[in-house]
Amino acid sequence: MIVPMEHLLILATLLFALGLGCVLVRRNLIMILIGVEIMINSVGLVLVGASAFWQQVDGQIMVLILMAITAAEVAIGLALVVYLHQQKKSIDVGIFDEMRG
């Protein structure tokens, strides 16, 4: 390992927190999805770090799986964004509160 695992984890956690913050603070649907991407990136960082730590290849494979899954999710998500935009002419999540209670 080039750095202590802790430092790596701190970096990942910071990234994760930033992504979560983005998800929480932004109301633009696309920005929320971007926030999720940031979070998943940080996951990749942890996995690669752990993979190096345990000297196993499994973690890296998990990163690959994660990428593929994310790609699929983003595809659907963005399609939905387009669909929502068609309907409401907006991608501000705040206006989608027809159902509540």
């Binding site: 390992m1 920005m31 290849v57 494979i61 690959l64 699929a72 595809a75 659907i76 399609a79 387009v82």
Partner: protein, 175 residues
Amino acid sequence: MIATLMFYLLGAVALGATVMAIIQRNPVYAVIYLVKSIFSLALIFYLLGAPLIAALQVIIYAGAIMVLFLFVVMMLEVTPTNAATRTAPGWFHWGPVLLLALTLVVLTLMLIGLDPASAEGVPRWHASPRDFGYALFKEYALAVKIISFQLSFAAVGAFHVGTTERRRARQEDVS
């Protein structure tokens, strides 16, 4: 030692780029910043002995997913339209971008000149593409299959969700 230093530098770049991505009002800028963050993470991956993942990170994330984002952002024209942001961005805007970009380029160049196998402090272990492929298609073959299904269904789903009413009506007439 260099690798360690690079890790911290790259981490700082990634964090900075991410922060910038988050605070952007304009999603286009955000995507660009994010690409920067992804690049730096890819470099860290490389440092951590995952060259293949580093490459894939750039190719898939930056190359596919972020482009998709950009595409949608452009298509929906969701960029803010108020006057303040439409004016040509000044140094306040360009400064961080350039700085980060510059750092990245320097670091990349340094990495190219660095042999991970011989550099001091870099672990001897790294996942060679052969190991990787072996594990992927042997142990995790099932996962690959599932992912392939998953991606195809994502396509179907995206297609279904994205289909416009007009096209659907045409479909209905056929059935």
